[in-house]
C-alpha cells in the first residue's frame, strides 16, 4: 500500500497525471469505497486491502472527460473491463495511466457469517493470513480467507493484466472451482425446478438498479429502461414490462460484452446471484461459437456482432 501511495504521489507531483483513482477506507477496513485523489496530501488516504473488490474501470468514463490523465489502479480482472470499454470507445487510452495492481483474491463481508463485526484482521495487502481474525461484539472469531472470498475469485479468469502501463505488487492464484459449475448444475435441473429457482431469486429484486449502476458493460449514457424508445420506462408499475424482464434484457444487452467481473452479484443488496445470467450467455457463447473472453483483446470479433455461415440453429443448448 505504501508503495502504491508513493508511486501515485510521484506521478501526481511530476504532473504526469492530474488525479488518482483508487480506494479509500470507510468506517472500517472491510468497508472500502472507490475514491478520487486530487492532491498529494489526500493520497495518504489511499487504501488497498482484500476488501477492495470494487472494479474501478467504469469510473474512467467520467474521469476521461476531465483535463489530463487519471492514474488508476486496476486489478487483473478490472483490466478486462477497461479493455472492453476501450473497444467500445467509451474510454481513451491516453486519458488513463494504468497501474496494474496485484490481487490475491477479494473478500466480502457478506460471507463472514458473524453478527456484530467490528474489525477483520488478516486481509491486508500484500500480507494476508490463511485465516481471518474477526473481532465481533460477541468476541473473537475465525474464518478461513477462502471462505470469505467473493464467488468470482474462486473462478478467477487469471492474474494477468490485459492492459497496463506498469505493474505493482504480486498476485496469487485463487481458482478452486469450475467457472460454469453453477450454470451446469442449473441446466441439469428440470425446467420446473429451474423456474422455481429463478422465480425465488428474482422475486427478491427491489429494482434498486445497483447492478446496472456498477456494471462496466452497462455504461449507456441513457439506459433503455430510462427512455421511452421501447415503452420500457415504467418503474412504478408492478406489472410492467420492465419490472418482469429487467434482468433478462440486461443480461442480453451485455451478452458478448460482459467480462464476468462479478460486480453485479457483489453489489446486489438482496444477494441475488446475478452473475448466473451473464455466465449462462458466456457458457452458451463458448460452447456454440467457440471460446470468447470479452475484454481479453481489442481485435477479436465479438460473438453477437459476427457470425459463421454454418452457425448452429436456434434451439441448440436447450434442455
Amino acid at each position: 500500500m505504501q508503495e502504491m501511495i508513493q508511486r501515485a504521489k510521484a506521478l501526481l507531483e511530476s504532473g504526469q497525471v492530474s488525479r488518482v483513482l483508487g480506494w479509500k477506507k470507510g468506517e472500517t477496513e472491510f468497508d472500502v469505497e472507490p475514491a478520487f485523489f486530487d492532491t498529494a496530501e489526500s493520497l495518504d488516504g489511499l487504501f488497498y486491502n482484500a476488501f477492495c473488490g470494487a472494479n474501478l474501470s467504469k469510473y474512467l468514463i467520467e474521469a476521461g472527460k476531465k483535463e489530463g490523465k487519471t492514474l488508476v489502479f486496476l486489478k487483473p480482472c478490472d483490466s478486462y473491463s477497461y479493455n472492453q470499454l476501450l473497444r467500445e470507445h467509451r474510454v481513451e487510452r491516453e486519458k488513463a495511466y494504468i497501474i496494474g495492481i496485484g490481487c490475491k483474491g477479494k473478500l466480502t463481508v457478506n460471507k463472514i457469517p458473524f453478527d456484530g463485526i467490528l474489525s477483520v484482521q488478516g486481509a491486508d495487502y500484500p500480507d494476508y493470513s490463511e485465516n481471518l481474525t474477526v473481532e465481533t461484539l460477541y468476541g473473537t472469531k475465525h474464518i478461513s480467507y477462502k471462505e470469505a472470498m467473493l464467488e468470482r475469485c474462486h473462478v478467477c479468469k487469471g492474474k494477468e493484466h490485459v492492459v497496463y502501463d506498469e505493474l505493482l505488487g504480486e498476485s496469487q492464484d485463487t481458482v478452486d472451482a469450475e467457472r460454469f459449475a453453477q450454470v451446469t448444475a442449473l441446466e441439469a435441473m428440470a425446467p420446473e425446478e429451474r423456474f422455481a429457482f429463478f422465480q425465488a431469486e428474482l422475486s427478491k429484486c427491489i429494482r434498486c438498479n445497483a447492478c446496472r449502476n456498477v456494471c462496466p458493460a452497462c455504461s449507456c449514457r441513457k439506459c433503455v429502461f430510462d427512455s421511452t424508445a421501447f415503452d420500457s420506462a415504467q418503474k412504478a408499475n408492478t406489472t410492467s414490462f420492465e419490472e418482469k424482464m429487467f434482468h433478462v434484457i440486461r443480461a442480453f444487452h451485455v451478452a458478448g460484452r460482459c467480462t464476468d467481473c462479478g460486480e453485479c452479484s457483489r453489489v446486489c443488496p438482496q444477494g441475488i446471484p446475478l452473475h448466473l445470467f451473464n455466465r449462462k450467455f458466456i457458457k452458451d457463447i463458448n460452447t456454440i461459437y467457440g471460446d470468447y473472453q470479452a475484454g481479453a483483446d481489442l481485435e477479436s470479433k465479438a460473438p453477437l456482432t459476427s457470425f459463421r455461415t454454418d452457425d448452429a440453429e436456434p434451439g441448440v443448448g436447450r434442455g
Partner: protein
C-alpha cells in the same frame, strides 16, 4: 396441466419482408390454412427483431412467438439472418434456462416460395403451444407464490 380444448393461444409471428412474409402470402394465395391464432408482424429483416419485442409479446399475453426469415445465405441484406440466428439462439437458450417452456419460441427459415412450409410450420407451432397451455412462467418470473 390439462388444457381446455377451447382455449385459443395468442401467437405472434415476426416475418421478414422479403422471404417469409411473401411465403405467408403464398400460403394465403394457395389457400393453405393454419390457425387464426397466428398474427403476423412484418419486419424488414429477421435481424430487425429485437429480443425485447419477443419478451414484450410474452409479457403482454402471447403464448408463443415465432420468427421467420430468409434461409441462411439468402438474406436480402446478405447477412441479417445470420445475426438473427445468433441472437435467437442465445435468447431462446436463456429462456429455457429460466424454465420457460422451450416450445414457445421458434425460428424457422421460410423462403418466398415455401407457402407449404409456412403453413405447416404454423400448424405445428400452434399445436405445440396449444399443448403447453397459457404462458404464465415468464410473467410470473418475479412473483413468488
Amino acid at each position: 396441466m390439462p388444457v381446455n380444448e377451447n382455449w385459443k393461444p395468442t401467437i405472434v409471428a415476426f416475418c421478414c419482408n422479403w422471404c417469409s412474409y411473401a411465403g405467408a402470402d403464398l400460403a394465403g394465395s394457395s389457400r393453405l390454412s393454419y390457425p387464426a391464432d397466428v398474427k403476423i408482424i412484418k419486419v424488414p429483416c429477421s435481424c430487425r427483431v429485437n429480443p425485447m419485442f419477443i419478451l414484450r409479446a410474452f409479457e403482454k399475453g402471447a403464448d408463443g412467438v415465432i420468427l421467420c426469415g430468409c434461409h441462411p445465405g439468402d438474406c436480402h441484406y446478405s447477412t441479417g439472418n445470420y445475426y438473427a440466428r445468433r441472437r435467437m439462439t442465445l435468447l431462446f437458450s436463456m429462456l429455457d434456462y429460466l424454465g420457460v417452456e422451450s416450445g414457445r419460441t421458434r425460428v424457422e427459415w421460410v423462403s418466398a416460395a415455401e407457402g407449404v412450409k409456412f403453413s405447416e410450420t404454423m400448424n405445428s407451432f400452434v399445436e405445440k403451444v396449444h399443448g403447453l397451455g397459457p404462458c404464465v412462467r415468464l410473467g410470473d418470473l418475479r412473483c413468488k407464490k
